[in-house]
């Protein structure tokens, strides 16, 4: 008995000490990092490899080309149906007899809470900090084009989802790959679906989990002072566990309500700062346009601005990645294409509105240092980014820009980052779960295994400084896009038929508004 007690104490002591030891002995951490980097390195390098002779990552080109193809193929659907999309979200076309089902607004809000986050705050600061104000222009262009990618994938997500007898639904790229390819008599749909699911699970554990936990810890530590990351990790893991395993809806509900509020507060604060500097708006847009085509002295010139803008827009709005198609599949609509219309608002809100606000605030508060003689931006000492007032970059650049107008804003921003990270985790736990159940089948025990793994990765993500793991998880999210976009090229004609049919019925008055 005493032996057992001793053993227990030893185990508990080891568990408590393990994370601390991992931090105190960098040798072990380094070894793990190195082994992981060696193992995943080729995959990461492949995904982020530049086109030969340039610094332009091919994966960014892949997403932008896809967005352009879909924009042309659907004849600028994002402009033609923008107003209609807003009508749908307002519920103008919702049948009162369907009240109580997931509304278009709810599907949009859920998908947005999965994408709005660090990309809008930190990613934009990186884009503008390296690519200059001109990056904003290319970011907006990429956001506008990305609307067509979202439209395509979300329409297919609803069209080919699975509906089960108990009334629940499962949908997403894996379902349109297998069912859509079968319907068109194309081979290989199942293989694509399995590949996508594997990347989706890795992306969910990495970019949708570890990266978020890591950044949330960095924000909290930035305010409270440094402390071991595993503490944040364990707290986060317990909360995530309570929500996704314990079914504790109250926490999720609070987050889902606070996150949109934070988003609105963020945009409102940005607008106030922009209005306070109203005389500079013309100048700021001048910088954005001039920078877009000349670079205004940034590293890589115009191309440098373009790469940064495109890259950060793609990182932020996830158009073409396939994640939104999973989120939108829950809507029970008679017309799958209506969900496509609604989803095209996401890149608009995420990139064209929120990202642009961040960029404008950074530019207008003059965080970037201009050489008074040439009017060009000055580079930092390393020569790889624009020199900033306090040498800030990433989240701290955004924080400093907002803080220059409202001294208390950095605290609000830190809370916002933590909440955004949490809501992104909840969303990705679901995306990962759907990929998991696609591979291993639905069932309580199987789902529990994934959920527990997910929670363990929260702790790992917050505790360790695993650079290669985070690189790998980002790469996994973009690998989803490789498989997804490939499938979309084959399935886009299905969407075109749906679009033609819907457009003609809308015109003839067969599809009409309901009186509410």
């Amino acid at each position: 008995m005493t032996m057992l007690k001793h053993l227990w104490l030893a185990v508990i002591a080891a568990l408590i000490a393990a994370p601390a030891m991992a931090q105190e002995t960098p040798g072990l951490d380094d070894k793990i990092n190195q082994a992981f980097a060696d193992f995943t390195g080729p995959f990461v390098s492949f995904i982020f490899a530049p086109f030969p002779g340039t610094s332009f990552p091919w994966i960014v080109g892949w997403l932008v080309v896809a967005a352009t193809v879909f924009t042309l193929y659907f004849a600028f659907v994002q402009l033609r149906f923008f107003g209609h999309a807003i009508s749908l979200v307002k519920g103008d076309y919702s049948d009162p007899n369907d009240a109580g089902e997931v509304s278009h607004f709810q599907a949009l809000a859920t998908a947005l809470s999965g994408t709005v986050g660090l990309g809008n705050i930190a990613g934009v600061a990186v884009a503008v900090g390296i690519g200059g104000p001109g990056a904003t222009f290319w970011m907006i262009v990429a956001g506008l084009l990305g609307m067509a990618s979202k439209f395509t994938e979300c329409t297919l997500g609803v069209k080919y989802r699975n509906e089960y007898e108990d009334g629940t639904v499962s949908g997403g790229p894996m379902y349109y790959m297998s069912k859509g390819f079968d319907e068109l008599g194309l081979p290989g749909g199942k293989i694509l679906a399995v590949l996508f699911s594997i990347f989706c699970i890795l992306g969910a554990l990495g970019g949708g989990n570890m990266f978020q936990a890591n950044q949330a810890h960095a924000q909290i530590a930035g305010i409270t002072g440094d402390y071991p990351g595993w503490i944040t990790g364990v707290v986060f893991a317990i909360i995530v566990f309570l929500v996704i395993v314990g079914g504790l809806k109250s926490i999720a509900r609070v987050t889902e309500k606070v996150v949109p509020f934070m988003g609105v507060l963020y945009v409102a604060a940005a607008l106030v700062i922009i209005i306070m500097n109203a005389d500079q708006i013309g100048w700021a847009f001048g910088q954005i346009f001039a920078g877009a085509f000349t670079g205004l002295g940034v590293a890589g010139g115009m191309v440098g601005a373009l790469i940064q803008g495109f890259r950060r827009a793609a990182f932020s709005n996830e158009a073409g990645v396939g994640s939104a198609a999973i989120a939108h599949s829950a809507v029970r609509t008679k017309e799958p294409i209506t969900e496509g219309f609604v989803s095209l608002l996401e890149p608009f809100i995420d990139t064209v509105v929120i990202c642009t606000m961040t960029a404008l605030v950074i530019i207008i508060t003059q965080q970037l240092i201009v050489d008074p003689e040439t009017g060009n931006y000055m580079l930092n000492e390393a020569g790889n980014a624009i020199a900033t007032v306090d040498g800030n970059s990433g989240v701290s650049l955004t924080s400093a820009a907002f803080g220059s107008a409202f001294s208390w804003f950095p605290y609000v921003l830190a809370i916002a980052v933590v909440l955004f990270a949490f809501s992104t985790m909840i969303s990705w736990s679901y995306y990962g779960l759907k990929a998991w159940t696609y591979l291993f089948g639905e069932g309580h025990a199987k789902e529990l295994v994934f959920k527990v793994i997910f929670c363990i990765f929260v702790v790992i993500g917050a505790a360790a400084n695993l650079g290669p793991v985070i690189d790998f998880s980002d790469a996994a999210i973009f690998a989803m896009a490789v498989v997804n976009v490939f499938a979309l090229y084959f399935l886009m004609k299905v969407v075109r038929e749906e679009l033609a049919s819907y457009a003609s019925r809308l015109k003839s008055g067969e599809i009409r508004k309901f009186e509410h």
Partner: protein, 145 residues
């Protein structure tokens, strides 16, 4: 043309009083049809997690079944047994708006509801469903105390 009277139930005893009043009124009018309605409070503009969305259809069916079995069907059966022509409807939505919409759709000539008991804060902020109904309905509304 028969007169259609809509009775809005809320699952409490005030609904019972509304039924008693409607029966009395129907007896006075003569040929009369009764429409028993229960509205499940719901808004399309709330925020939900992906998992809640995926389960939503199932939950909706459960909510409708529960409301039908516990509230509407017993009322319809009791009224039918008393010799009235009755129809029952359960729908999701904003209580006041939906009750009015159902009345207009079915050509109802008036609505009878019990005095609702909304909780303090919400009532102060938005007014109770009954207040909203009285102010915005397209037909006369009788509120039974």
């Amino acid at each position: 043309m028969t007169t259609k009277i809509v009775i809005g139930l809320d699952g409490t005893e005030t609904g019972e009083r509304a039924i008693v009043f409607a029966k009395d009124l129907a007896g006075r009018i003569g040929t009369c049809e009764l429409l028993v309605v229960y509205v499940i409070e719901w808004s399309p503009f709330t925020f939900q997690t992906p998992e809640e969305n995926a389960l939503r259809h199932k939950r909706r069916e459960e909510e409708i079944e529960l409301a039908t079995n516990r509230i509407v069907t017993p009322a319809v059966e009791a009224l039918t047994a008393d010799g009235y022509t009755v129809q029952g409807i359960v729908r999701h939505g904003d209580v006041a708006e939906t009750l009015n919409a159902i009345t207009v759709e079915n050509g109802g000539s008036q609505i009878i509801v019990g005095r609702a008991s909304a909780d303090g804060f919400k009532k102060r902020l938005f007014g109770s469903s009954t207040q909203n109904l009285v102010m915005h309905a397209d037909v006369p509304v009788t509120v039974v105390n």
